[in-house]
């Protein structure tokens, strides 16, 4: 796809980079002059997917998290990818409240947040082969 503007970030799997990812995407998307509500939705969804890559994909171990963000007209496309453990049962993983790490006080709401806050969510994953989360948000100009 040919975007109006596009950026790619590769970052270490380090929980400090959750905030970095949010701020970067927010700064990039702010070029479209979106409403505060849309900015918050996108920031929160990015935070969920990057956090998942770090704690589930890489089990808090070393690895790289890939973030791609582009926009065309008023549509924002975001892709977050890891080369981590992957997801065995995507349907189950996406159910509200399902978490494989209850001992870490995970709420199991990450995918539900992304689904609620974004206009489209696609999860591509396979056990042992990493995970790609693709999201689209149609923004309203403020």
């Amino acid at each position: 796809m040919e975007f109006d503007n596009e950026m790619n970030i590769i970052m270490d799997s380090n929980s400090r980079n959750e905030a970095f990812a949010r701020v970067s995407v927010m700064s990039f998307v702010s070029q479209l002059d979106p409403t505060m509500a849309d900015i918050t939705d996108i920031k929160t969804s990015v935070s969920e997917a990057v956090t998942n890559a770090i704690i589930h994909g890489y089990n808090n171990e070393k690895g790289k998290v890939y973030l791609k963000c582009g926009y065309k007209d008023n549509n924002v496309y975001i892709e977050i990818k890891d080369d981590g453990v992957g997801i065995n049962n995507i349907k189950e993983a996406m159910e509200p409240l399902y978490t494989s790490k209850p001992e870490m006080e995970r709420s199991g709401m990450g995918f539900t947040v992304m689904q609620t806050f974004m206009d489209s969510l696609e999860v591509i994953s396979e056990e042992g082969n990493g995970t790609i989360v693709k999201m689209i948000k149609k923004i309203s100009r403020s």
């Binding site: 929980s15 959750e18 918050t40 935070s47 956090t51 006080e105 995970r106 709401m109 947040v113």
Partner: protein, 111 residues
Amino acid sequence: MLVQSFLEDRNLVIKIEGDIDHHTSEEIREKIDRDYFREKAKNIVFELSSVSFMDSSGIGMLIGRYKNIEKQGGQVAICNVSENIERIFNMSGLQKIIKCYTTLDEALKEI
């Protein structure tokens, strides 16, 4: 991110400033659990007016405290939810589990 706490009767008031995500949740959790036992508190009231961001890790942290404190026979309440986190708050259904108040005074009176 900054967590401050003070005791009001046996209610531990927790004021969080900044972002609540997975990274900061761990620090927040440790500080709260430490202060709760040190201060021999019974209940916890979260004052969230200065929270700039929260994702589902924050929901998990709040529910985690709720479960722990319930086991101790105490209660958890939330007050002053900032505008920034209203959207995730409403969608999470947290209010069905933890009581939410508009002001700290109200929360301390009702708890």
